[in-house]
Symmetry: C2
Subunit: 328 residues, 2 copies
């Protein structure tokens, strides 16, 4: 039900995914009066893999996250998370209110033992491989322990998805050990003492795109600003090119942007518009699709959820946390 | 003495500025053995406007700011700030260690009454007029009162330089009143209650370049990350264009970048490489040139200092703070 276009995007996306991934079964949680009419286009052979769980309430985009646990227990978001909790579903995907999703996810699924706060992860496109930035908005205020836990979770995700050891950096405003906030400096000390993490030191924001680290850790305020400032600049540059070069010339230039980092930055990296940002640290797979995702975008978010099921990311995180605690 | 190339940049810049601005007199504070040989190229008519104040010690780029007050009292940076304090100079310009400059500036010049922390200001290029972002690195940790004071100082600077009323926004991770950190939310309440400031609400990082606010306020960690992430993306896009389009084509495209925001972002906005970032809030004019400034770049920093003298920015800030306190 969530996102700018609700069932107009989510239902066609579900239908399209079933045509590609015969191993998946999907449950559409929401208003059946609005969902059912859209199911006529689902090929008969796939209809059995699609189920509707009806509810006529939904979390609104402007609902205050703090109030959803009181007022939204019958909402589609709550019921979907409850399915993940009960094991009726292995993952949930939502294009709705991020803050509410975080609140409901924490309440129903709980965090992994040893993890205090779930974090939202953004993928940073790179020349050779992707890297990961977290947290990008779930936790505006973090202490050193939270940052340390983000480093653990991020390294598990990066190793699982890149299938290679992950180097972890802390986002800071300089390379010297005395730079930054107390939380960042203390987190650096914790990471230096932890042999299970390949900690490479402080990373400045302009270096995020250089690939020195596979995982860059920061609090949710700083991460959100990093991603949005990056998107803002990429858009400004697009506009400068368009207006200075003129539309015809711009079209010629544009082909250099296709599949390039500019598209990646403007389309993928913004956490609000990110196709399948995972909420890491919960005992269950929760994927946030951006609110204005297209059908194709929402398909990516569903595939991301399938990916997390396949990789068993929450279990890998739990194992890593346990082994770190055992050696600490 | 500061910056990557020391007197090789600062002395020729001083010479060049005297040719342009006959109203200025410059004092070169540093090692006369290294400065004097470079003065032979100064036209005889301007030689009288250039004085050398000798000292053979200088703050190093890697000196820890916390130690400079004990160890660097004979340094060129300390002596230059002392000249501003005594009134022998109306402004100082340094390409040296930012943290040390902040420490020495606070110690000798003190903050303006009512201002607890000086802030470093970056200029954000815009389509119609420039806007200002502060703090971009002087204070990694700020409370609501500090942010409020940055808003006051920023609005004075913007009104003085743009010669128009300034709209002030707070950098946050969303527009809703409950978003962000406690410090940011409290600062918003303070600004809403202050009739002397035209407060326009929360600004997200991607909106900084849209011009809804003339002044955007944040703590020094967030501001530094904003600027450096912006620079990082601009550089990545340059590289993508260069490698995808090839050098010849890139040169054709490049002319659209000249004097555009990309150049502005990569060359001007980075606080470490910023040509003449003012340190706002001190009882005296202090301008930080970037460490790798060219002669032309250092000229800009000197002109920025002259600009601040002309505009009497510290006095304007003191007046505004006084009038806000009187009506509070």
């Amino acid at each position: 039900m969530g996102g700018d276009r609700g069932v107009g995007v989510t239902v066609p996306a579900a239908s399209r995914i079933l045509a590609r991934r015969s191993d998946l079964e999907l449950v559409l949680v929401g208003d059946s009066d609005r969902i059912e009419p859209l199911l006529s286009r689902v090929p008969a052979g796939n209809r059995g893999k699609l189920r509707v769980l009806h509810t006529d309430t939904a979390v609104a985009e402007d609902d205050r996250p703090g109030s959803v646990l009181r007022s939204a227990r019958e909402s589609s978001m709550f019921l979907a998370a409850d399915m993940v909790k009960s094991g009726d579903a292995q993952a949930m995907v939502s294009a709705g209110n991020s803050g509410a999703l975080l609140m409901i996810g924490r309440h129903l699924l709980k965090t992994i033992p040893g993890i205090h706060k779930p974090a939202m992860v953004a993928t940073i496109p790179g020349a050779s491989k992707q890297s990961f930035l977290l947290d990008v908005g779930a936790n505006p205020e973090c202490d050193a322990q939270h940052l340390f836990e983000f480093a653990v979770m991020g390294s598990v995700l990066a190793e699982s998805l890149n299938r290679a050891p992950a180097r972890v950096g802390l986002l800071n405003i300089g390379a010297e050990h005395y730079k930054g906030t107390e939380a960042v400096r203390e987190a650096a000390e914790k990471l230096e003492r932890c042999p299970a993490i390949d900690y490479v030191g402080f990373i400045e924001a302009n270096e995020i795109y250089h690939g020195q680290a596979d995982v860059v850790v920061c609090d949710g305020f700083v991460g959100n600003v990093t991603i949005k400032a990056s998107e803002g600049v990429a858009n400004v540059i697009r506009n400068v090119l368009y207006h200075k070069a003129g539309p015809a010339y711009f079209n010629r230039i544009s082909r250099f942007f296709s599949a390039s980092i500019i598209n990646s930055l403007t389309m993928q990296v913004n956490p609000e518009r990110f196709n399948g940002a995972c909420l890491l640290g919960l005992q269950g797979n929760v994927v946030k699709s951006h609110g204005n995702a297209s059908v194709l975008g929402f398909c990516h978010a569903i595939l991301e959820a399938a990916n997390e099921i396949d990789n068993q990311v929450p279990r890998l995180i739990a194992n890593k946390v346990e082994s770190i605690m055992a050696t600490a």
